[in-house]
């Protein structure tokens, strides 16, 4: 039975050959009879029966070939996957951000082979994980489309072999290596090797903005016998006096100083005290904005102020100061300084050697030498002196320099008489540039051997004596570039490359073999053992002549000029970086340009701009077109629009350097602002960024300045004094009545049950518990100095688009996080407050209930979320946001839109070239793959870095433990802004966790805690700590209309 076979045909029964063949080939007909048409395909007769097949095939082929245009995308899998790289998981490598000698230890986040973000290296004892805006943005430069891509001779591409050969022949006799400060011990060795090969050569260090005055003051014949800058301890100083020193923005080492400064500004509510900071300056700097008391001085007066202060500190009288306010100020400062001997610090940004000697004498009198000033650890980042460079310049003119090798220095742009340098350069036979980009000096050089970006390089740095920081590459060089040390080694005839050189050097120095070397590279830093600050011997003999020199008042005209560096642009390095150009200046809140900073009094006198009365101020503030003035110093003049900056000395104007670059260094630099370096002057061998007699003329022209914030005043005269957005107090008031803010809040919320019951009674809706994680952020306004590192960190972490100057001028900026700057009090010398403003992640968010499509909604963890896919772009949420933190994609900034070719608008909203540049394949390499690039027409805003939160939660989950946010300083999650902040203003974490850092700071600081616009019952998850100003000077009461 089981073997019974049911046959279907006789053929099957007999299993004949014919049956087997037929069975094998069940469908004998060919699908397409192509084999019949060998040869003449076109002439082949199409069988009638196959017509439909041909038709179908050809239609499909045509459709595939024509209509389905599939772009070629290369996906290259790892044939052999490296053990430590998991696709989609970021690796962090310790390296060092180096810019013009300034070196900050960082961790580079490398995602799928691409470095996309930099974080501070917390192991560094210098910066402790602090970052700056320029550091955050520097990763963009790696992918800058303007980077040089190959070596050239006279602009023609050549191979490295060819250029090495011709350079080796061309270098003859003594050469000069002109660089920005080099702190790397191995690089100095390399330079020495080069010098050894070509005897008579030398190394010249150039700083666009030099510290000659200070270096020379500290030098042998003057104060301390060291041509160096010591390290400072702002954290140990109870009284800090800045004499035109912008130490939180641009002076010497702002990141380190911010960290130290913030330590003294943080308030412990159990024992209320903080450092006191006085600032004397002509224009309002970010440092001056943070000061407790600020005095306006003309630049020419600074020496007198220093001398008067020295006299007062020595118990003498204050003489030579006309202004009564200033005089009283100096006496007050002197008294405070004397009361805090050994715990005070006076610093000056003056380029006048004599002023610096007087300042040294003040510090000496106060016992700062060896307490707040440490001479055992020197600051190596600013070594260039102007005399060195002027010597080089005259040598070049004399024709005694045969070869000039330039790295990073750019005197053709930044020397005050750049024409001198350009003509002198023509007398140098062999000019070699090792710069990464075709900057002004490189354009003049015959040989260009582009160097790597620091993220592609090996190296080391010694920013402070004994503090080493290492550089390791995080990506293969993107272009045909070579590290400049390699080039020098090659030309010096050394056999080894720089990597080997570095490794050998350090393995010898460190001992411990390969393991020790790898360990050092992994941590990225070597910190010296902690030691007490050491003093240096002070030469008091130099003081008397210096005093005589400064006391003779400088000849000054009616108006004076200060050239300053913006936090973002610096000496001009930031100019090619769109993120830095678009970062608003903390004081002027302007982007993309430089301008003339002018006091309200001068604006009223010269241009009839009245910002004293609110009604008239409107006229000035609401139009981006500002009047242009012509500033003339000697025979150099410059035409720039003005911005009225309260706090500027009435006879002084300020102009930022670093602008007026060409598009050759990047689209972002092209044509923005004007070069102000020619306005600097050489006085006593030092470049002084001041002019004491200038002319200011009206031109009748107007020019656009793109400001992110146009209304400056917080204490509006009309409409009553606002107090709910932010809160500021004076320290004596706070010490006397610590509960003032609490009481104000209680009063405000009294109709709704007071602070305690406000959440439940302030609404008609039912109350819901918030179990599990509840994210919260705390911002300490007392520590914030407005530096903007958080803003740039946020932009890069979250792929925030660059919109360009024209769009910023139309108030289309896209920043998720902004630092609002307000003036209060006296318009002529106001107090300044910085308030970082971001999405407050309100638990009762006004934006959420108005969205018709639920595109923005609340998570169970307290996040106010955006679902970009859902958003239809009604902008109702942005209108209804009391904090105005929502940002709309007005145009296709990112190229993410489904409409092709819609970035070429001509009539309205023309996009700047830099916006298009951001959409190049190269520029887009920096995008964070964890964050969606938003398309046109959708709303976006701060997400509390939700991608990081998910990552952190996952990490905790994998380890089966609760999430840690600051418990014992262990962090699973940190937002980008929090991580970037050098002043540690921002604390973030799970507010439902009693042990988290956020719960702790909220618990420990109930007296200063407030929520912005709390009375609206938005229930924000962001809280602020009120700003406390350490002054007994009361602000004048705001008059009410």
């Amino acid at each position: 039975m089981a073997n019974k076979k049911h046959w279907q045909s006789f053929g099957e029964r007999g299993n004949s050959k014919a049956f087997q063949d037929a069975n094998k080939n069940e469908f004998p007909e060919d699908l397409l009879p192509f084999e019949e048409v060998d040869g003449g395909f076109l002439s082949a007769p199409t069988p009638r029966r196959d017509f439909l097949k041909y038709l179908g095939f050809s239609t499909a082929a045509a459709a595939l070939a024509a209509s389905c245009e599939t772009p070629v995308r290369k996906v290259i899998p790892f044939a052999n996957k490296p053990e430590d790289i998991v696709p989609g998981v970021a690796n962090y490598y310790a390296t060092t951000y180096v810019e013009d000698g300034d070196a900050i230890s960082v961790l580079a986040k490398v995602r799928d082979g691409r470095p996309i973000k930099l974080e501070g290296n917390e192991l560094s004892a210098v910066t402790n994980g602090g970052t700056s805006a320029r550091l955050q943005a520097s990763v963009i430069e790696l992918y800058n489309t303007a980077r040089l891509r190959f070596p050239t001779i006279d602009g023609k591409e050549v191979t490295f072999d060819a250029i090495d050969k011709s350079i080796s022949q061309a270098i003859s006799g003594p050469g000069v290596i002109l660089t920005t400060p080099v702190t790397s011990p191995t690089t100095l060795e390399v330079i020495n090797k080069f010098i050894a090969k070509y005897p008579g050569s030398r190394h010249v260090t150039y700083n666009s903005v030099s510290y000659s005055g200070m270096l020379e003051a500290n030098e042998a014949s003057s104060s301390y016998g060291k041509k160096a800058i010591p390290s400072y301890h702002f954290d140990k100083a109870k009284i800090i006096v800045g004499l035109a020193a912008d130490f939180l923005g641009s002076w010497v080492a702002p990141v380190q100083f911010s960290k130290q400064y913030a330590a003294g500004r943080k308030i412990n509510e159990k024992d209320i005290k903080m450092s006191k900071h006085y600032q004397f300056e002509g224009i309002l700097s970010p440092t001056g904005a943070s000061a407790d008391e600020r005095f306006q001085t003309r630049p020419s007066e600074l020496g007198l102020v220093a001398a008067a202060l020295l006299s007062a500190v020595n118990g003498g009288s204050v003489s030579g100061i006309q202004d009564a306010k200033l005089k009283a100020g100096i006496q007050k400062v002197a008294k405070d300084l004397l009361d805090n001997k050994g715990a005070s610090l006076v610093v000056s940004g003056s380029q006048d050697k004599n002023v610096q000697i007087v300042v040294n004498a003040i510090n000496e009198a106060l016992g700062s030498n060896g307490t707040t000033i440490d001479w055992s650890i020197l600051n190596n980042t600013r070594q260039g002196t102007d005399s060195e460079f002027t010597q080089l310049l005259s040598d070049m003119k004399a024709g005694s320099v045969a070869t000039l090798v330039v790295y990073n220095a750019n005197p053709a742009y930044s020397w005050q008489k750049s024409d001198d340098f350009v003509s002198a350069l023509k007398k140098v036979r062999t000019t070699i540039s090792l710069n990464e980009k075709a900057d002004e000096t490189t354009q003049l050089c015959k040989y260009v051997v582009p160097s790597n970006h620091f993220l592609e390089s090996w190296g080391d740095a010694e920013p402070r004596t004994g503090h080493y920081s290492f550089i390791q590459p995080t990506i293969n060089p993107l272009f045909k570039t070579r590290q400049w040390q390699d080039s020098l080694l090659k030309w010096a005839g050394e056999p080894s490359d720089y990597e080997t050189f570095l490794k050998t050097y350090w393995m010898t120095k460190l001992g411990g073999g390969e393991t020790m070397w790898l360990k050092t590279i992994q941590s990225g830093v070597i910190n010296p053992p902690a030691a007490a600050p050491a003093a240096a011997a002070f030469n008091s003999a130099a003081v008397a002549p210096a005093l005589t020199a400064v006391s003779s008042k400088k000849k000054a005209g009616k108006y004076e000029l200060v050239l300053y560096q913006k936090i973002a642009i610096g000496e001009g390095q930031g100019a090619s970086n769109p993120f830095l150009q678009e970062m608003p200046d903390p004081i002027s809140r302007a982007t993309w340009d430089n301008y003339v900073m002018m006091s309200p009094a001068m604006a009223l006198e010269l241009l009839d701009i009245d910002i004293y009365r609110e009604g008239r101020a409107d006229e000035y503030e609401v139009h981006p077109e500002k009047p242009v003035v012509k500033v003339t110093a000697g025979n150099v003049s410059i035409e720039l629009p003005i911005l009225v900056i309260p706090g500027t000395h009435p006879n002084t104007v300020g102009i930022a350097v670093g602008y007026g670059r060409t598009g050759k260094i990047g689209k972002a630099a092209d044509g923005y602002g004007k070069n102000a370096y020619p306005l600097a002057q050489l006085l006593n061998g030092a470049t002084v960024f001041e002019q004491y007699d200038i002319k200011i003329e009206k031109t009748g022209k107007k020019s656009k300045v793109a400001q992110i914030q146009v209304h400056d005043r917080y204490d509006s005269v009309i409409g009553g004094k606002r107090t709910e957005v932010l809160k500021v107090l004076n320290l004596p008031e706070f010490q006397e009545d610590p509960k003032e803010i609490l009481r104000d809040r209680e009063e405000e919320l009294k109709p709704y049950g007071g602070i305690e019951n406000f959440e439940k009674q302030g609404t008609i809706y039912p109350y819901y518990d918030k179990p599990g994680i509840h994210w919260g952020m705390s911002v300490d306004m007392n520590a914030c100095n407005g530096c903007g590192a958080c803003v740039v960190a946020c932009n890069i972490e979250n792929n925030v688009p660059i919109v360009g100057k024209d769009e910023v001028a139309r108030f289309h900026d896209m920043h998720w996080l902004r630092i609002d700057r307000y003036y209060t009090g006296d318009v002529d010398n106001p107090n300044v407050v910085f308030q970082p403003m971001l999405c407050q992640h309100c638990d009762n968010a006004p934006c959420e209930n108005v969205c018709p499509v639920n595109a923005t909604n609340h998570s169970t963890e307290g996040l106010n979320q955006m679902a970009y896919n859902r958003c239809i772009g009604t902008r109702y949420c942005a209108n209804n946001c009391p904090y105005k933190v929502r940002r709309f994609n007005w145009a296709d900034y990112t190229g993410a839109d489904s409409f092709p070719n819609n970035q070429d608008q001509t009539t309205v909203g023309k996009l700047d070239a830099t916006v298009h540049d951001r959409n190049e394949d190269l520029s887009r390499m920096v995008l964070n793959p964890d964050v969606t690039v938003r398309s046109r027409g959708v709303m976006e805003k701060c997400s509390f870095c939700v991608q990081r939160l998910q990552d952190g939660k996952l990490k905790a989950k994998k380890e089966s433990r609760p999430l840690k946010s600051g418990e014992n300083n262990e962090w699973d999650v940190k937002t980008a802004c929090q991580q970037a902040c050098a002043s540690d203003c921002i604390v973030f974490g799970n507010a439902n966790d009693k042990n988290s850092a956020i719960s702790k700071v909220r618990r420990e600081n109930p007296l200063r805690l407030f929520h912005s616009l709390e009375q609206l019952h938005t229930m924000p998850n962001v809280n602020y700590f009120a700003k406390v100003r350490n002054t007994d000077v009361k602000e004048p009461e705001t008059p009410t209309a």
Partner: protein
């Protein structure tokens, strides 16, 4: 003189010229049956040009993004929503005239209701363009529709006043169209019956739904009209109430105001009547309908204008009072500085609003002014400009300076495409209106016949010679 004792001394006749029913039909169908005049062609061409400009403006905005307008991070709504509210407001008069006046048995409405209803429908069509095209991603606009879908499902947020708008306006539009069309049925039948060309017969035949004029048809027609009037009446109040919720439910000082619903409705009626006035004055001139749309009609509407204008005036004063009385400094700033201060950046718009909406309509307390066509026409334009200012004041002066001073801005003035969109809706409106005036009876023929006093007038004319005689003469003649 003695003739007038048969007429009300207070109320003048609603139709002048003692028309017979036939005459009325002849007069009112004539525009459909003859070629339109040169003026019509010129007007229609201009309207089409404006419409084309609007289409180009909207195309540009859709392709390049909302950045083609000068809105910004602080002022998220500007001309777009201002124009939306303005057009919706205008779209109030038609239904009010038709529905509410029908319920109140106001006979005078028959002369103007058809055109007013058409205006309503076209105005709502224009209004609808703005919320649609103000969306950043208009192609995803259907996300607001609550229907079961495969997108999650994506369900709209019923808390959002914008969603209420969607329902309010679409409902209003639907009911208005139905109401209008119901009234049109007998008139289409009239045109059909008189048609001399096949095409006209066919098209009007289809449009009239087989109306025969039987008593049953009339009875159903009347019943349906009343039902729709009953439905439309609350809608007149609800539409602008809900539009006002867009602002009233927000947290923005100047928007967050409980007075908005009645204030918006009054304002809407105000602007609607003004617009009806502007249009009718043109139509009656262009189509020789002076005897159907009489000075009496114009005067009646001017009375409504002065009433509603005064209501909004009271509303403006109440807002100022509350801004002061509440002690809310943000609201005080919005009202006393951003608006009422003439020298603040946008103060001109507030005072423009006050001058045009509150002060100028007071001229209509004078009968002479109410009955002056030139003044009426001028005022109808002024009122509509004033009402545009009102919406602009509410929307822009509230948000450009609200809570956080760092976000304040006034850099808001329209771009060419923003203006083009607005101009384009005028194109759409007038294109529709010109087509309407050519192909539809602009006055409800059937309804106006109900108020034409043909029999009474015949009697009046017959009795006139008798009246003229002395009683003795009359008695003498009568006896013989």
């Amino acid at each position: 003189m003695s003739l007038f004792k048969y007429e009300s001394e207070l109320r003048e006749p609603l139709v002048k010229g003692s028309k017979s029913y036939h005459q009325i039909t002849e007069d009112l169908v004539a525009p459909i049956e003859v070629k339109p005049g040169k003026l019509w062609y010129i007007g229609f061409f201009i309207a089409l040009c404006l419409l084309l400009f609007g289409v180009i403006s909207v195309y540009t905005e859709v392709v390049y993004g909302i950045g083609q307008w000068n809105l910004n991070k602080t002022v998220g709504w500007g001309w777009d929503i201002t124009n939306f509210v303005w057009w919706v407001g205008i779209g109030h008069a038609g239904t009010l005239i038709s529905a509410i006046l029908l319920l109140f048995r106001q006979g005078w409405r028959t002369g103007v209701n058809r055109a007013a209803e058409a205006m309503t429908i076209f105005a709502v069509m224009c209004a609808g363009q703005f919320p649609i095209f103000h969306m950043g991603r208009v192609w995803d606009g259907f996300f607001v529709m609550p229907y079961p879908n495969t997108r999650g499902p994506l369900w709209p947020n019923f808390d959002s006043p914008l969603l209420w708008d969607v329902f309010a306006i679409s409902t209003y539009f639907t009911v208005s169209v139905l109401f209008w069309y119901t009234g049109l049925l007998p008139d289409f039948a009239t045109v059909r019956d008189r048609a001399k060309t096949k095409l006209r017969k066919l098209l009007y035949g289809i449009a009239s739904f087989g109306w025969t004029g039987s008593t049953k048809h009339w009875q159903r027609h009347e019943a349906l009209s009343l039902v729709l009037a009953g439905l439309a009446t609350p809608l007149v109040l609800s539409v602008h109430t809900i539009v006002s919720f867009d602002f009233a439910t927000s947290v923005i000082p100047g928007w967050h105001t409980t007075i908005f619903p009645p204030y918006f409705v009054a304002g809407a009626v105000f602007s609607g009547f003004a617009m009806v006035n502007s249009l009718l004055l043109i139509v009656r001139k262009m189509m020789n309908l002076q005897q159907y749309i009489t000075i009496g009609h114009i005067e009646a509407m001017n009375k409504v204008i002065v009433l509603t204008g005064s209501i909004v005036g009271v509303a403006y004063l109440s807002e100022l009072f509350i801004a002061w009385y509440s002690g809310n400094r943000y609201e005080a700033y919005a009202f006393f500085y951003s608006r009422a201060d003439l020298f603040s950046p946008l103060g001109w718009s507030y005072w423009g609003m006050i001058a045009f909406n509150v002060l100028s309509p007071q001229i209509f307390w004078f009968r002479k002014m109410r009955r002056n066509l030139f003044v009426t026409f001028f005022m109808s334009i002024i009122v509509n400009i004033g009402m545009w200012f009102e919406r602009f004041v509410i929307i822009v002066t509230s948000i450009y300076r609200d809570y956080v001073p760092s976000a304040w801005t006034v850099y808001y003035h329209p771009t060419i495409w923003e203006m083009g969109f607005y101009i384009g809706t005028f194109g759409l409106f007038f294109t529709c209106f010109f087509l309407f005036s050519k192909y539809f009876p602009v006055i409800a023929i059937a309804e106006i016949k109900s108020i034409a006093k043909t029999s009474g007038d015949n009697h009046k004319w017959a009795v006139a010679p008798v009246e003229a005689k002395e009683p003795e003469v009359f008695a003498h003649e009568y006896a013989h």
